[in-house]
Symmetry: C2
Subunit: 409 residues, 2 copies
């Protein structure tokens, strides 16, 4: 049985942490598994390199930044191979290049085009445990590229797929995926299983367990992901295709505090107004999520929408300019909002779930400003001050908390 194991930076914060991870890998090898290891950079080392780059240049070239940042993972992979060898596990470090990971030319956020696992197979065939530097690949012309923050998850899943691995284990400092963030909702409980779509919604709603692109890749290739903790032996969460019929309506809830609401007041009700506004925002790379348009009076509309809070400075001049062109009245920016989301593939074809979410918020005294839904998600924009209360209210309403029995375990 072939397993890909990925260890993140928080599992590799020091020499002692590296040795601890090497022991975990050795344990799997001793149990008879073939193991391929993928490692991130040690602890905060990537941040330190980003800091140095900032001292060299106000806007470092993306190519040079990738040459620089990829070295952290290279170091981890060589050190891990040394540690494994010392423990009697023959090992060999692999750069992204040697692992056959070819990417697009989008330095800093390259996408994997192809994985040629020829050299990995060779190493496995002679009993070596490959240790791959995550986060990195090479372009067709041979320059080092990186896959964006959290890209080591993608490395692991892409390699697992290319090798036809039986599973991909993603180790972090959290024991899997929870029904809610345990720091906010103390009764949150770990999930045994989650579908790819649920994980995708959770990841894009602010849960930071797995990189979104990695989950998309796993979904496409149907690679089962095991999200586990480096620091415990708990089983963690399996992310795999699952039958939505047998599932509860809501599997987990998520909170995103880092959003902002923009309101355009008194915009003339003319064709093409929305196209102009959202076209310009898209051109600036601003991601718009929920949109509400309400006819107010005298043929004037109000348009409200949400964006990531970090994009406010980019969006404001664009929106102001559009408002002027349209002959609108004013712009209101509210950064004191948050988004709570209820997610579950079990809500497919099950009516009344949204109503239960709204009821839970009403009972908690939380006012809903905007609503957005997908097939397996209901999101509400609320005042940021109500965020924790709202999350707990939905979590409770769907009985997601650990039962008394579970908490006692």
């Amino acid at each position: 049985m072939l397993i890909v194991q990925k260890y993140g930076g928080s599992s590799l914060g020091s020499a002692g942490h590296l040795l601890n991870v090497a022991r975990k890998v050795k344990a799997a090898v001793d149990q008879g598994y073939q193991v391929v290891v993928v490692v991130s950079a040690m602890g905060d080392s990537t941040d330190a390199l980003v800091g140095l780059a900032g001292q060299m240049s106000t806007v470092p070239s993306a190519r040079e930044l990738d040459q620089l940042l990829s070295t952290g993972e290279t170091q981890s992979s060589a050190l891990m191979a040394m540690a494994l060898e010392q423990m009697g596990v023959p090992a060999k470090s692999f750069s992204g290049r040697l692992a056959g990971i070819v990417t697009t030319y989008d330095y800093g956020k390259a996408r994997i085009e192809q994985v040629d696992p020829k050299e990995l197979r060779k190493a496995l065939a002679v009993g070596l445990t490959p240790v791959i530097a995550g986060f990195q690949g090479v372009t067709q012309s041979g320059d080092v590229s990186t896959l964006g923050r959290g890209g080591s998850d993608l490395t692991a899943i892409a390699v697992a797929n290319a090798l036809g691995a039986d599973r991909c284990e993603i180790y972090s400092d959290v024991a899997g995926v929870f029904t809610a963030d345990p720091r906010i909702v103390p009764s949150a409980s770990p999930l045994d299983i989650l579908s790819y779509d649920e994980m995708l919604e959770l990841a894009s709603q602010g849960a930071q367990v797995l990189q979104t692109q990695a989950v998309e890749f796993a979904k496409g290739q149907q690679v089962p992901i095991y999200a586990r903790s480096t620091f415990s032996d708990e089983p963690g969460t399996v992310i795999a295709e699952s039958d939505s019929m047998e599932k509860p309506a809501v599997t987990a809830v998520a909170l995103n505090r880092h959003i902002a609401k923009l309101g355009l007041i008194g915009v003339p009700d003319a064709p093409g107004v929305a196209a102009l506004l959202f076209g310009e925002l898209a051109e600036q790379g601003v991601n718009v999520e929920l949109i509400i348009q309400a006819v107010s009076h005298n043929q004037l509309n109000d348009i409200a929408f949400t964006i990531e809070e970090q994009d406010v400075n980019k969006a404001e001049p664009v929106v102001t300019e559009c408002l002027k062109k349209m002959g609108g009245q004013s712009l209101v920016i509210d950064t004191e909002v948050a988004k709570v989301s209820a997610i579950g593939s079990g809500m497919l074809g099950r009516p009344g779930v949204a109503a239960r979410v709204f009821q839970a918020l009403a009972s908690g005294g939380v006012n809903i400003q905007m609503i957005g839904t997908s097939e397996i998600k209901i999101s509400c924009i609320i005042a940021r001050a109500d965020a924790e209360k709202a999350l707990a209210a939905i979590h409770d309403a769907f009985g997601l908390g650990a039962s008394e029995e579970m908490l006692e375990e």
Copy 2:
């Protein structure tokens, strides 16, 4: 005019140092030179990585050590390219691989087999300043290899030769090559010019200005080397082919404190004794330098020889075993010795130079234990306690000190 400039770790100790070097490169570019930059790892970063490796494994694999240690130079090259770009000098970082440096498979001390400067030429042709990560290359099979400590000098000289550069400038924290180590002989003065052979003798006698292999390479290809300080505008020393007839008998003196003398007492005077002893030592990778064999009495010889002090632990069991086989009497190990050397291509065909060296030592009250010579070098083994006195005595006897006039400048 094309110049290769190499900057060592002491010139790159911090972000501020990196920016200072970038300004020096920019100054050369602004003067109209085409510049190729070669950089070492920042300050002591290589030592930090060696320390981490030591925590992973008692004997880290040489391949993995090379993957690890090469990252320091990669980081420097990317950071330097960013700094240059920020200053308006279009630049591009080059790994050893991209610079076309192919080496042997001797990880940790690989030798350059070939430099294919195709990509470097391409970059120069479009006005980019290449910044090469020193110290690294790749094997024929594509794994990263390193050239040994000080290997960035070799990178610079090999690249200078491959590109047909007009000169190669090696920057460090020392303003060139001195007649003696200024920390030991305060009156030591910088040399304007030095031949490759003199530099080779100096480097192998313990002067740490330039890597020996790099000088050998430069000699073979007749690349003029300019050894200069990063921190001053002094001209430094030119290492190039020079006419020995016009030169003083002794150009510089060197001191090596890190040697040990081994004496085998009462060895039977039989054929093959020396062959056995030095054959075994060579097999263990112990480098033997000076050898003296003296017939004492009753057909018994004494054999004395010097080795690097760090090799004593490796040599002792080998020599003890040989002594037993030969039926010799005893082994004496003296680590309280040092070697002083007088070097000068001007001593070629000029008799009496050795006598002047011995006279200088005698006048200084320094006892000579062993003597070794080459065509352009005279070395004496003396008590380590006399080392500084001996160095100064020879330095003075050949008038190498800066004249009063020079010191006043």
